[in-house]
Symmetry: D2
């Protein structure tokens, strides 16, 4: 039976989003004869009819190698706690009824929500109000449970490793400590894997509180063996031992961990004090979100899109597509959003890093 599906992308942009959108559109139209509605700017687009538009084959032509999302995205727009101005004051109200209404009025039979923990949680709540939703996991930080990995992360790793390769030449030539700050508020995956791949000497992740003294000792030890430079990769959420940040999942608390100048700056300054070495900071920032997706991310995004269609076809809702080994499967959304997927401080990857001689800050 012909269907009309709606697609939205929520949260930060991520390489591979367009691959998912393209796969959904191609698979829906070419194979199934369904219609597709593109919803602009995340959940915000469910508030206004003008932000829903038909997506055809023409709209997805040539978008596979392009970063970002042709649908636009925002971090706002949670219909269950929506900021509304009333009498000059900002009030948080629940406008989800209106959103459910809009979805139904647009004739949308199934809503594909592509997003991270935050967006998937909203999708789940909409599901509970009767909207048939399918989730597609998206997190550049690799911090979503129940899937081996999601698209975007691989591209972000390439960007970070490419940057580390570049910093190596300056570090070596100038005998410097180079600190590179990468994404990762709660989970240190990007720092850990790009650090291993980029030949870092020290890696600091949120899951392992660090000691500046031990870092300095380790750089000193390297120097005494003739290595006159060191490379440090620090996840933005890395914390000093004794620091008072409480790790808690959920986007509401995220802004607490922002800090004047950032962790890179902090580590560099502290190291400068205990070592007589020149130290410089690079903050990768938004570069990690951008650019043409890697082969891995384009494939994974495409396969996720096709799998989402199959779930809709079978009438399976409330699930999120996921990667397990080499297979695409699906899993209940609530299992995926119950907490963030963090690096295990005693796990295999951390252990490998330490056996490679990398200092984890402890």
């Amino acid at each position: 039976m012909a269907k009309r599906i709606g697609i939205l992308t929520g949260g930060g942009d991520c390489p591979g989003l367009n691959a998912v959108i393209r796969a959904l559109v191609k698979g829906a139209i070419l194979k199934r004869g369904w219609e597709v509605v593109g919803i602009e700017d995340g959940f915000d687009g469910l508030l206004e009819e003008s932000k829903m538009r038909p997506l055809g084959l023409n709209e997805v032509r040539g978008i596979l190698p392009r970063g970002g999302t042709i649908l636009g995205t925002t971090n706002r727009g949670n219909p269950f706690s929506y900021p509304v101005e009333k009498d000059g004051k900002l009030e948080i109200v629940d406008i989800s009824d209106r959103v459910v209404d809009n979805i139904s009025r647009a004739g949308i039979d199934a809503l594909v929500a592509i997003g991270g923990e935050g967006s998937l949680t909203i999708a789940l709540e909409l599901m509970r109000k009767g909207v048939p939703v399918v989730g597609v996991p998206k997190t550049i930080d690799n911090d979503l449970l129940e899937t081996d990995v999601t698209f975007g992360y691989n591209t972000a790793l390439e960007t970070a490793t490419y940057a580390l390769d570049k910093l190596h030449s300056t570090a070596e030539s100038h005998h410097r400590v180079m600190v590179m700050e990468v994404m990762g508020r709660y989970a240190g995956w990007i720092a850990l894997e790009s650090g291993i791949a980029g030949g870092a000497d020290v890696i600091l992740i949120p899951e392992i509180p660090f000691s500046i003294e031990k870092i300095c000792e380790s750089i000193e030890r390297r120097r005494s063996r003739g290595s006159r430079f060191s490379i440090i990769v620090a996840a933005e959420g890395a914390m000093e031992k004794g620091g008072n940040r409480v790790v808690k999942s959920g986007p509401d608390l995220r802004h607490q961990v922002e800090r004047l100048g950032g962790i890179g700056e902090y580590v560099s300054r502290r190291i400068g004090k205990c070592l007589d070495m020149d130290s410089r900071v690079t903050v990768l920032g938004h570069l990690q979100r951008g650019g043409s997706p890697s082969t891995f991310d384009r494939c994974l995004g495409s396969r996720f899109g096709i799998k989402a269609l199959e779930l809709i076809e079978k009438g399976i809702f409330g699930e999120m597509v996921c990667l397990r080994g080499t297979e695409i499967r699906s899993v209940k959304i609530e299992k995926a959003v119950r907490r963030l997927k963090l690096v295990n401080p005693r796990g295999q990857m951390v252990n490998a890093a330490e056996e490679l001689g990398i200092m984890l800050g402890r």
Copy 2:
């Protein structure tokens, strides 16, 4: 107890080999105080003492981002069927006793063989003669069983997709059919995944015999919808329906599938006959083996190396390290080399490709 381990790399070179070697050396020396012997040019290096040399931290400095293998490699040197010149004639003899002797005289407690199906089979036979071996899987074609994937494949995919991105501009500008031939004698993984990621219109793999007529029909259909160009990715081992190649694993038969001009040339010529369209061929060839390994391959190679050390430490021999989901495990070598891992013509990845509107030649 202090050990001395030997490392060799066999078969074609592959991005990530140096990451494995570096991890083995670092993990052995820094953490365990073991000695490492580098064996040059694959199994050939076991024949001459001059080809075994100590590998220290200095030898592996800076090799992580470099392609190839610092140990050298060859496709020759199988000690169980070794070509020896006798009275002006080439004779195939079994010199494995001498090799086993050399290994023991070099004081090697464990041999780490990094290689594909061929090299791992040799390693297994050496094991049966008493040499304690650990295998590290290496195949740029992704055709090894029992591991989700090996290093090198991801980098090769990036190279192939990068090339497809490039060919797109010429194909579009000139309204041409562009055929790109990629590696894959028996397994079509590179063609399939790079084709999906590179937005190919037709993908030809060894596992699915193709029909030129159907390919031409599909290009014709595209043209009638206004698409004046098409991109075809062909694995080197792709075969026309009714062709008489018998797929059989094992390196001995591989050269049968080589063919004058290659499959790319053949497909291009045949298409030129049935369509009035300009067609050009690109053979990626050795570019797919080369270059700096991707982040994924550097990490995977590093983790494989560390895992191999752990196996040796525990006295587990005859096993090959492998990736399962996000974990590094190990598996009996004989399970991995019993046949090649081929694309399932009715499997999930092929299905996704077809739902994306890609023509698989059938």
Copy 3:
């Protein structure tokens, strides 16, 4: 005074064409209030009204980083010798009157022809029939006189050097001779500059006939000094000493130099006979034309486009924009197309290559 300008791209595609088109459109519309007509598929587009369409700001949005040309191009369509089928036979006729008529009927006040020697020669002849033309030089081979360099060449060099970097790892790991064939039918610029940048050991260019014996001697000498691999870069038009190709500019004769298997194959086979070394060939082919243009080519293309508008504004026709040092200037088209710009076999660049220890085949 408001004007309407026509733009066409002729000959092979080339990274940077879209930068020129975008600059012409932006500079014409934003600054001058002119109209722009895009002519599709090179000079062919001047034959049919349906191939001329208005180009506005929307049409050039996002095209700067994209390879190829949004206008399409062909190598056919010379209106002065146009193939027409008459009574089942192909006849070459002069249809330039019709073309001149079409241009005037389309209300085009000035025609910007972006192309190489061939396209610029046609443009010049149209000029002589009264069409006000401005030329923008385009040659991926860098064989156009009167400009230091054109766009496309820099990107092609990057592609070739990137490939050489990749081949190095295989060459080193396998102790092989790797031959890479690059573009350059008459001029060896790509081979020469990418060879210098990619650390080639031997470079073969059309301007210097080569001796296989001397090449083998040089590889032998390298081997005796301990270098067990060699990298050869060969321009597709390179010739053996005593070979009988007559170098002549003009696209008509170009196909004479095509040869079974190509120069790379030939050199590899001949070297295999005199040396006992494994040798492999890579033909870069269309990869050199493709891909996102480099910064240099995007800037140069953009500046060329703006300069072309300035010429039109001043009523200067029959000139081609060009780069001299760091300045964009212009020069009479006839000066640029009088012959190809070849590598000087005794010039500074060849001399530098030889001082670097590179063997030029002589």
Copy 4:
């Protein structure tokens, strides 16, 4: 006559330095039979014998594609004003006599100084004290007079444009203003050329004081035409109209222009106040210095090295090699260091940018 030449690299590191060093070593040893002495850590290396070491062919093997300098470099070590600790206080003394002495004792017949304005000025002063010097220009900022361009700049441009391409996807997806800060304390070349190539909407350079109001107006105008994002590239030395920085060449004053948070942060904050748009900053920083040099920079560096040898051979000292059009020439060092090469605010490149619709802050 056999000679012994000394090589040093001064100032910040820069892609292409190793190409120069390699060319000097290869050209000196292979062609001329000269000896080469590598001087470590810039002019600092002239103070201690232990920092001078013979450079042979082995030392330069494989360094062509590598960033940085194998000789190391520092920004310190000016022998004419050298900081020495005396009685617990830092005193600036002239130790140039000792340096001249060391050079002569090391048997160095000619000193090749590879560096920017600062290093070349020191070289010139050593020349005046009798040391035969040849200069090789190096500036990643492209701010050296008397050469069309130097190596390193092209690679830095590629890095900056690559980053802009990445930021585009986030800017578009999130409807944001993205500000990217690039190098350029006094000269805006990197900002200007990467901005043109990366499709920036606003470019801020030190040579053109900017007005925040006008920038906001221009972004507002874009938004009213439907473009919901804007990209701003700012050179680190860009200044607001009415700001009080005095532009003066010479490294001594450079640190005055450093500022809390940097120009990117400043512009972003100011724009956020006058526009209701989300704005983010990326500081490229040291990424611009790093990485494998581009083809252009490897070739130019190699040719510079060879030219320097020719000058020594002819006994021409006190000159700096340079690029003019397509030729390598030489020029008196004093002509090159008399002031920095700045962007002409009324010149061709700025004009082209403005015709492309780019806002230059004025």
